[in-house]
Symmetry: C2
Subunit: 172 residues, 2 copies
């Protein structure tokens, strides 16, 4: 029984070592393959507000952009580039008219957050995500990551911004 | 010297007693005069997100609605009416196109938070604000409360909502 336990521990340790070596080798070989988030950062819904955004056209999207403590501190101090540990979350909803509000106001003017469409994240880790400007991108629908091909579209646009790959400015 | 100190303490105590009695008398007489906030609730910018909103027309407004801990708990638990201690903040900005974002996307689609226009608050205190549905309303421009006449416009619309005077629903 003890021998079986020891073998299991040894096997588990080997798996860990391989897991640690594998990505390091990938980076050492200079592979510029983007690494995407596979897990939603925990607690993001309790983070503080960065700002709001609205995309018209085929997106018809309403966003609340939140930041973890590192992100909010960097935003408030105007620190660029964002330090490692920064995580920014974009919570996207449909931009829908509110019949309830419009009936109170007596005119068609009010739009609110409709069904949630997706949640996107940017995680700053200048070593882990060196191949993509220091940022890891995540794109989740119904709490599951979208396919890697869809996530390939994140970087080209974010790379065109003037503030360390980040579109959203801090709202007072 | 001791007599002067005692007199000062007695005078201060009298002022406090008068201050405590005065509003109670006002309420006892059944005066339905709305009481408005004169101070911005501290720390509101660190509160958690309730949802986002957008008013078109002459308002052209973008809102982020935040709640203090009591508010967020009530929202998440679906508790109505909101308990005493609830504070909800609506941070309003101009809804402005982002030339910076549009140039990246290659089309006119992106709107962001422009200059801040005002901050509005609702504070739940079923005794203090009994005359206005248990809610105290606050409306601040450039960190100063607007005139009382402007604040008289809050209650009539909020009273028409179906969820304890509150327009904004919680976004997931």
């Amino acid at each position: 029984m003890r021998r079986v336990t020891l073998l299991l521990i040894a096997a588990a340790a080997l798996v860990c070592v391989i897991a640690l070596i594998a990505p390091a080798r990938g980076r050492a070989a200079g592979e510029a393959v983007p690494i995407f988030l596979t897990q939603i950062p925990p607690g993001y819904r309790d983070w503080r507000l960065v700002s709001v955004a609205h995309e018209e056209g085929n997106l018809n999207s309403f966003a609340a952009v939140l930041g973890n403590d590192v992100a909010i501190r960097a935003y408030r101090e105007g620190k660029l580039p964002f330090p490692d540990g920064t995580v920014i979350a974009a919570l996207h909803y449909r931009h829908v008219p509110s019949e309830e509000n419009n009936s109170v106001f007596g005119r068609e003017q009010s739009f609110v957050a409709g069904p949630q469409t997706n949640i996107q994240f940017m995680v700053k880790d200048s070593k882990k995500y060196a191949a993509t400007g220091g940022w890891g991108f995540g794109f989740f629908k119904d709490a599951r990551p979208v396919d890697a091909a869809s996530m390939q579209t994140c970087l080209p646009c974010h790379a065109k911004t003037s503030r360390d790959f980040v579109f959203t400015r801090y709202a007072p």
